[in-house]
Amino acid sequence: MSSPSDESGKKLGMWLFLYTEIILFGGLFVLYAVYFARYTSDFIEGGKELNRLFGVANTIILLISSFSVAASITAIQKKEKKRAMAGIVAALLCGLVFLVNKFFEWSHKIDLGIFPNSEKLLDGPPGQNIFFGLYFVITGLHGIHIILGMTLLFISLVYVQRNRTNHERFALLENSGLYWHLVDLIWIFIFPLFYLVI
């Protein structure tokens, strides 16, 4: 019988949803793998044009945000409401900084004439066009997921504040956390594939 207290079931549902997200990005990683094998040197050239500092900074930001979400789930189970809320707020701020960084990074690239279908890319070697094409598509899709994750975290924040999420019922917070960690997990793979190709 469906009882509202079956938190494990809700978690199972969330994990199943995460699998679909993994495969969604997986389709793009198939393209990355094939094109990397075909245009290795172009990918390396392209990778050098990306700013590593931005990449490293964003990785650190996401790792910290993941930590604070994990900490807030520990806090809610320990009945420390304030800490739980602080954790979510910290994660939200990190997400925001991530997006701001991404915005500057993208606009810098666009200023340089590097954007999908730009003349500079079309005139250059085809491999670099593909590299930056994948870069924009994958980081763009990832950015959308950051926004979705932040929305989920914000809803959880409201629920915690209203005590609708508490030490007995925290599936919503836990599931939003899972989603956020997945977004982080995907970034952990995006980061070396685009910023660190040598």
Partner: protein
């Protein structure tokens, strides 16, 4: 069937240690990328990324406490992803 409520959590100290490990691994992967090993670089980067991913899975995502169903189905998903990528190379690797 498992119990309905799984009240498992990690102490803050463990979480902080995990975070520090993750940051250290980020440093290692950046340093490793400066050593030119040709195509091996990608494999090394992916290997470190997988270790980082496992830390997140096990600790932040509580996979350590989950039952067989989640572990197996997650491995199944990764397996399917592996098939997607590797089987495509039956084509593009032999053209």
């Amino acid at each position: 069937m498992k119990s309905l409520n799984t009240q498992h959590f990690f102490e803050y100290k463990i979480l902080i240690n995990v975070l520090l490990t993750l940051l250290a691994l980020t440093g290692i992967t950046v340093i490793a990328s400066y050593i030119d090993l040709g195509k091996m670089n990608v494999w090394i980067a992916l290997f470190i990324a997988s270790i980082k991913g496992s830390f997140i899975l096990f600790f932040f995502m509580h996979m350590k406490y989950e039952g067989r169903v989640l572990v197996l189905s997650f491995l199944g998903t990764v397996f399917f992803l592996g098939i997607m990528i590797s089987f495509t190379f039956w084509d593009v690797g032999f053209r």
